[in-house]
Amino acid sequence: MAKNDKQWSSATPGLLIILLDQSGSMRSDYEGTTRTKFATLAVNKVIDNIIQKNFDGDAPKNRCFISVIGYNHNVKELCSGWLKDLDANPLRYETLKKKTPDGTGGLVEVEVKQPVWVEPIDKDGATNMLGAFQLAKDLVEKWMADNAEGPAPVIINISDGVPYYEGKDPRDCMRETVALAKEIMELSNNDGNVLIFNAQIDESNGKVVFPSDRNNISQEQAQFLYDITSEVPDSYKAAAAKNELPIKDGSRGCIFGADGVQLIQLIDFGSSRAGDKGL
């Protein structure tokens, strides 16, 4: 089993690619808002959290490179950069009110600026997940050619369904996407294989969390998700436990029918190599 235990560091930075479904169905209701708004909030939050983990007060340390790829009928890089550059160049800041401890046991409401790198979509579109994985594969191959001694890249895919593009039969789209995802998961460097973790946020077809046996999955779409997901390496088991994700031998890092909390847990788990010793 691949080790995938190399910590993201300035000497051996990591690559995190987030694939973000921007198809029309992402405008559906979810967690009191829409799927696209919640998902982009979660992505912006995870970028911010990774910067925070690597920010000691002087400047963010460039311990990883983050690329967010959006896909509907088109595939587009929404933002990408080293942590220092991402921090210096968000699209905009959103001002939020937040209750924080006032140091004397009470709470005080303060205004907090939240950087925004990715925006929700407002248009209809298909689901070219294949194209997104293809772009991710190109980025990963180029990265690994230049960073053979570094951590193996990690891809986190957030979607609300199965691939559908070019008017093809969805089963053909799923088959093509599975084939490509398997190619990506075969790519490796000295640290281990490229990892793909998935969160599917359509809760209407039941829930499957970190499955270890495909035969125990009844939903076809969940089986698809299983097929495009990596087995969780031992080095990620502590992060899974910290995020209260049920893990056993052979578990794949995916959640089908993820609610808001589980989406954030999955993203946090998938990006857990990004940072030094934690709390």
């Binding site: 007060g57 340390k61 303060v110 600026k113 030094d276």
Partner: protein, 373 residues
Amino acid sequence: MVIRAFITHKQAERFADCQDRFGVNTDTKSIAVSDGMGSTWQQKIWAQLLVETYTNSRDWNLSKESIIPLCQEWRAKVSEFIQNLKDTNAPENIIYRNERNFAEGRSAGATFVGIRLDGSKWSGEVLGDTCLIEWDGNEAKFNTSQDTDAFDSYPDYFDSNPLKDGKGTPKSIEGTLTDDKKLLLVSDPFSEFLLEHSKQGDIAKYVQQLLSVASHDDFEVLVDEWRKEGMHNDDTTLVIVESDNAEALTITYADNIAEMVEKEQMDKESVAEKVEAESTENTNATSAIEQVTDKQDESPYREKECNASDPVNADTIIEEFLTEYKSVLEGKCKGKSQKAIKKFWSELQYKTTQNAAKEALRTILDKYVIYAK
């Protein structure tokens, strides 16, 4: 007692980034090492406070209660730090992130090991994976607050926020330093590496290597070699205490992190001056490109009116692309110094230039209908 003390930073970072701190006070006969935790904030200030407070006193002992006044001191120092950022016109995002963390009550974490010597007897406290190793020539005894089978990424630590509990409980440690023993106060890369070799039964040769370190250069060479052998890449600190049958503490060598940071800054400034001189040459080269572009603006091709049936001349497209590409690339490098731009390019390799090229091409291609040959 004879003391030697060494410190270095993570690979590919700088002394200014180093979050380990150590202190040796020959008056109070106190020695301490603290490791600021990477995923926390302003941990250097916290680690320094813990070390200074311990070594400046003859009887102050570290506990969750005794550090409460230090938490206020930490907060005051961080507030000064933020004010200094504003006074020196630091980048807006750095000021914002520090202010936000301060307002949200974000805090620092640090591990700790400290001892005081009374004749040949020593006593102290330890919390986390910073460790005191007693070496008797054959075996190593690891003094840590944690289960020595379970060094992981979540060590015990002191938290600089008095409303948070930190993790774990400080453990009191004590012993006697006889002629045949050495004490090694170490931060976690050494703790883990030596523990592993203790389990493998070959720790002796590694301890001998540590004991032979006499200078900072020796220390850097050793750390580099051990990292190649699997020691994890992190800030690394070593304080060696040996008996010379004298009660007084004698420091035969000690790195000074403040001086190392200052030297690093001076070296950086002199490199920046050199790069500034080089960038003047680049500016001249850039001006040359501008001149060529300007000249091409006057070319007959650009002055010729193209009607709908004529394909656009390739030279025209190339000229416009270069101008647009330069503009987009400058936008991506906006606000960065020439040195930062060079470093930015070398880190990013082809990605920024590729993205800039794509954006510039898109802008140009939006303006024309290009016919295939």
